[in-house]
């Protein structure tokens, strides 16, 4: 599986985020559980494919989301995704990370991503809520969705990325 397929898959995920996910999330949780599947993929890319790929994927798909759902600003998601992908890639690129570490890293990166987005909107005065409220309202609930999603896709994604960037180390799966 090479990068082209990964991009196609991410585009599909982008479509699902905006179209199918709103129907799957129960009424009480609408607006509180936010799917960020592309971002999880960007993180996987930063683990297994390197920080530059992650940066480009993050900026590209973030920009896509910004342009398609252009409400207040363009560039928020692009910036946040690119930044998080790059930072995580800088620290953990091509290291052999066990599954639990990878998942907790994804969790932390999601927190970072949501925080960055929150503060950008806060700086531009698009939101007046306190950070604690935002954290309880949607950041924590959606974190669980992201973790569940990344857990489901951990094994196949790892195989794809490692197949496309032939690493010398033999892969051992959990």
């Amino acid at each position: 599986m090479n990068l082209r397929w990964i991009i196609a898959l991410m585009f599909l995920l982008f479509l699902i985020e905006g179209t199918i996910m709103p129907w799957l999330i129960p009424d009480e949780w609408t607006g509180r559980i936010i799917p960020q599947f592309i971002f999880v993929f960007v993180l996987y890319a930063s683990f297994y494919a390197g920080r530059h790929t992650a940066l480009l994927l993050g900026i590209g798909f973030g920009l896509l989301q910004d342009v398609v759902f252009y409400g207040h600003l363009i560039g928020v998601h692009s910036f946040a995704m690119g930044l998080c992908g790059y930072v995580i890639g800088l620290m953990f690129e091509h290291k052999r990370i066990p599954m639990l570490t990878a998942l907790s890293l994804i969790g932390m990166a999601c927190l970072l991503y949501d925080t960055v987005i929150y503060f950008i909107y806060r700086v531009f005065r698009m939101t007046n809520e306190s950070y604690v409220w935002a954290l309880m309202d949607h950041i924590m609930p959606s974190l669980f969705l992201q973790l569940a999603f990344s857990l489901v896709l951990y094994v196949p994604v790892r195989r794809w990325f490692e197949g496309s960037y032939k690493k010398k180390s033999a892969d051992d799966e959990e």
């Binding site: 479509l15 699902i16 179209t19 996910m21 607006g31 759902f69 207040h72 910036f79 987005i117």
Partner: protein, 275 residues
């Protein structure tokens, strides 16, 4: 560092009131929404199917209710026809111009929702009508229940709707009044508090007749918005920040999630005004 500066520049640039999108944005918008519409509707149908099965029991009761409503409607209808013909006759007698006659003759365009933004601070909705179908920015978007939002960006074949829950931080407000007290009540819907889920209506006069429980509708003053679109109901009223005017909290009437069909309201004369 350069990237950071660049991004802040882009954000700052896109923050302002841009009336038109550039062509790459339009192109991406249209292409993506073309693909998105293959997903959203089938997903909605599937979800609707399960919902329907669950709702089966309530159908009987609802049917009963609807019957009584229809009976009332038929009665109102005859009164309405009579009033309308009389109104028309009076307007004729007063010599209204063609433009004035058609002022409240709104056209409703039915639009399908294509997708919903997965961003908590920016819950925009995409619809499958664009400038080629006569949609312009700032047109009101409603459902059967009430006002949903405003068209914020328009591409040739799709457009983006900003819900009324996202009005914060923008200069736009919606002129509003109360059903039954149209000439005695006025205020401006300005912002939305997502912690309480209520809209804030400001600039209400001290001796205004607005009371808790009233139904708030758009007033149509300024002729950009249609008049008489339901916004919500008044939950509470209190003295405003400066003590000169009152403010009111309003519970929005329309449900913002799981929308399938919305109406874009075309106000006559709007297109000429836009150009």
């Amino acid at each position: 560092m350069i990237g950071l500066i660049l991004f802040i520049a882009v954000m700052g640039f896109s923050l302002g009131n841009r009336s038109n999108l550039s062509w790459p944005e339009k192109f991406i918008n249209d292409t993506v929404s073309y693909v998105q519409q293959w997903f959203y509707k089938p997903a909605g149908y599937m979800a609707g199917l399960f919902e329907d099965i669950r709702m089966m029991r309530q159908l009987y009761e609802e049917n009963e209710q609807l019957r009584t409503t229809v009976a009332r409607y038929a009665r109102d209808r005859s009164t309405y026809n009579f009033l309308q013909s009389e109104n028309e006759r009076l307007k004729d007698a007063l010599g209204f111009t063609q433009e004035q006659m058609e002022l409240y003759n709104y056209k409703y365009l039915i639009a399908q929702v294509i997708s919903v933004s997965p961003d908590p601070y920016n819950k925009t909705i995409k619809i499958n009508l664009g400038s080629k179908h006569g949609v312009r920015t700032n047109m009101a978007v409603t459902t059967v229940d009430g006002l949903v939002g405003l068209v914020s960006r328009v591409s040739p074949f799709s457009s983006t709707v900003t819900p009324i829950t996202e009005l914060n931080g923008q200069t736009k407000g919606i002129a509003a009044t109360v059903t039954g007290k149209e000439s005695e009540s006025f205020g401006i819907i300005e912002s939305f508090n997502s912690e309480t889920g209520q809209l804030l209506m400001t600039k209400i006069e001290e001796n205004d007749k607005l009371a808790v429980g009233d139904e708030v509708i758009t007033s149509g003053l300024g002729n950009v918005f249609p008049r008489g679109v339901v916004i919500g109901s008044v939950v509470s009223r209190q003295v405003g920040d400066f003590g000169l005017t009152h403010t009111a909290h309003i519970e929005p009437a329309a449900k913002m999630d799981k929308l399938t069909e919305v109406f874009v309201v075309q106000v006559p004369g709007f297109e000429e005004l836009d150009q």
